[in-house]
């Protein structure tokens, strides 16, 4: 029984937005319903996504029931990237419910998300090391990857350049630098070698929502839908017992999504992708884990221009996370950008990815079809 995306709305990503948390969630939920041409009473179930450590509130959804449209609804709250809330909504739609509203948000202004990443470290050992956080861990993975596959800083800067150029054209992006140059990226401030300000995603405020429906409802109400063909998710080991050179869980998640949607050769059968590259070097590793190219050859995919917006397999036409990382809402921004492009006829099939946890320990992949 197929599930379709029938409406969506994403707020422009900003920092220190002139809206309260409730106002952002309300605007996203209201917008998605309006886009779907539905009212709150047409929605059977609501799955929100937020996290106590990012919102600075224990039970962070308890004061958003009204704003998220979940009042007196059969609802729940996923406490990780919004795409996991979409996965949970799909599971609910295949059981009792006919329509679902998913809304996710994070206001990075509330507390530095990079500091929240240190709370994910093993408190007995790793958390005692004040240098350890998501940025320095990414720096270690980047250096190991560059060392093993002779990848240069420029290869990574080219991936960032592609996304930053795309972001400058995306009205919803947070970081929009018109006329960005490779040198500007290579000279930007170093946080932890080789990670620089312009080769890592800027944390920002964001809120987004999507409305999902079962195919029978979509037919009855003759709604315009983007179909979810396949989904796969997987978890990796904790950072201490993992191979730094591999994105194991992304490979497994992609394999599941491909099998579910009958895809054997992603590069040929999929038209474009929206991925969550929290750090620019990760986009190269993501290409490899998605089986778009061989291990260590992600740099050639970048240099060949295949993944440029006018290439054969455009990746992150929206600018991806280089354009802004609204943490819990990041996955929904990727999903919504892909759905928009499909509805504009930009492509028939799209891949959407997001990650969660230190060094992308969890990954989730969707395959969409127009």
């Amino acid at each position: 029984m197929k599930i379709g995306i029938v409406g969506f709305y994403a707020l422009p990503q900003t920092y220190d937005v002139e809206m309260t948390r409730e106002e952002s969630v309300f605007a996203a939920a209201k917008g998605a319903l309006k886009d779907a041409g539905l009212e709150r009473e047409d929605i059977d179930t609501v799955v929100s996504a937020s996290s106590d450590f990012y919102d600075g509130r224990t039970i962070s959804s308890s004061m958003l029931i009204g704003a998220s449209g979940a009042y007196l609804k059969d609802e729940s709250k996923a406490e990780e990237d919004g795409l996991f809330a979409v996965l949970y909504a799909i599971q609910r739609l295949r059981t009792y419910h006919r329509t679902a509203l998913v809304v996710a948000h994070t206001h990075s202004w509330t507390f530095n998300p990079h500091k929240v990443s240190t709370f994910m470290l093993d408190p007995l050992f790793d958390r005692q090391n004040e240098l350890l956080n998501d940025v320095t861990l990414a720096a270690l993975q980047a250096n190991a990857y560059m060392h093993s596959y002779r990848v240069s800083e420029e290869d990574i800067a080219l991936a960032a350049l592609k996304n930053l150029e795309n972001a400058s054209r995306n009205p919803l992006a947070f970081r929009r630098i018109v006329g960005i140059t490779l040198d500007e990226i290579l000279d930007s401030e170093i946080y932890s070698t080789p990670i620089r300000e312009l080769t890592m995603a800027p944390c920002c405020d964001g809120a987004a929502a999507v409305v999902l429906a079962r195919e029978d409802v979509i037919e009855d109400l003759s709604l315009d839908a983007v179909w979810i063909e396949g989904v796969g998710a997987a978890t990796d080991s904790y950072i201490r017992d993992r191979d730094l050179l591999e994105m194991n869980s992304l490979g497994i998640a992609a394999k599941k999504a491909y099998e579910m949607s009958g895809i054997n050769n992603p590069l040929d059968e999929i038209d474009f992708a929206e991925v969550n590259e929290r750090f620019a070097y990760q986009e190269l590793m993501i290409y490899e884990a998605l089986k778009l190219c061989q291990k260590g050859r992600g740099k050639y995919l970048i240099r060949s221009g295949i993944t440029e917006r006018d290439g054969d397999f455009p990746v992150n036409i929206s600018g991806g996370s280089m354009g802004g990382d609204s943490i819990i809402a990041n996955g929904l921004y990727r999903l919504i950008e892909a759905a928009k492009l499909i509805k504009r006829g930009f492509g028939e099939k799209a891949l959407v990815h997001s990650q969660w946890g230190l060094l992308a320990q969890k990954n989730i992949v969707f395959v969409l079809r127009g």
């Binding site: 005692q128 090391n129 940025v135 720096a139 270690l140 401030e189 070698t193």
Partner: protein, 153 residues
Amino acid sequence: MLIKNKDMAVERYEGFPFVARFRWTAGEIYEVFLEKMKEGKIFGARCDCGYVVVPPRIICPRCLKKLDQSNLVELPQKGVVLSKTDVKFKMDSAGNFEKTDEILVAVKINGANSILFLKALEPVEIDDEVEIVWKEEKEGIPGDILGVRGVKK
């Protein structure tokens, strides 16, 4: 579309000063690891499947078999640098970035499978051999390890 009317601004407010304190329980097998650190020793746990996990724990990461104190093994003080990074910013307790100039490394202790993330007290490169540097007065806490330094060839 619902456009927030321009005059509807927000009022910003801060939290009153409160730092929640935690005292995470070590558990019996990790307690031994901490006590051995007091003696300047690094202990891991070797599973029958050959995987050596450090710090030691009760489930083997590879084959998920149960481990206990009988699996404890002392590990050498030397290891190899898997990766390193020059850290230019770290964060204070409130999450503000502050400039620094320190080195962080991912080290595989000889004979162990797990990676340890430690400070490097001097410049090192990937594949360099390094050794653990201990604090003078050790208290049986992770902080007893100051970091690693290159092994002079």
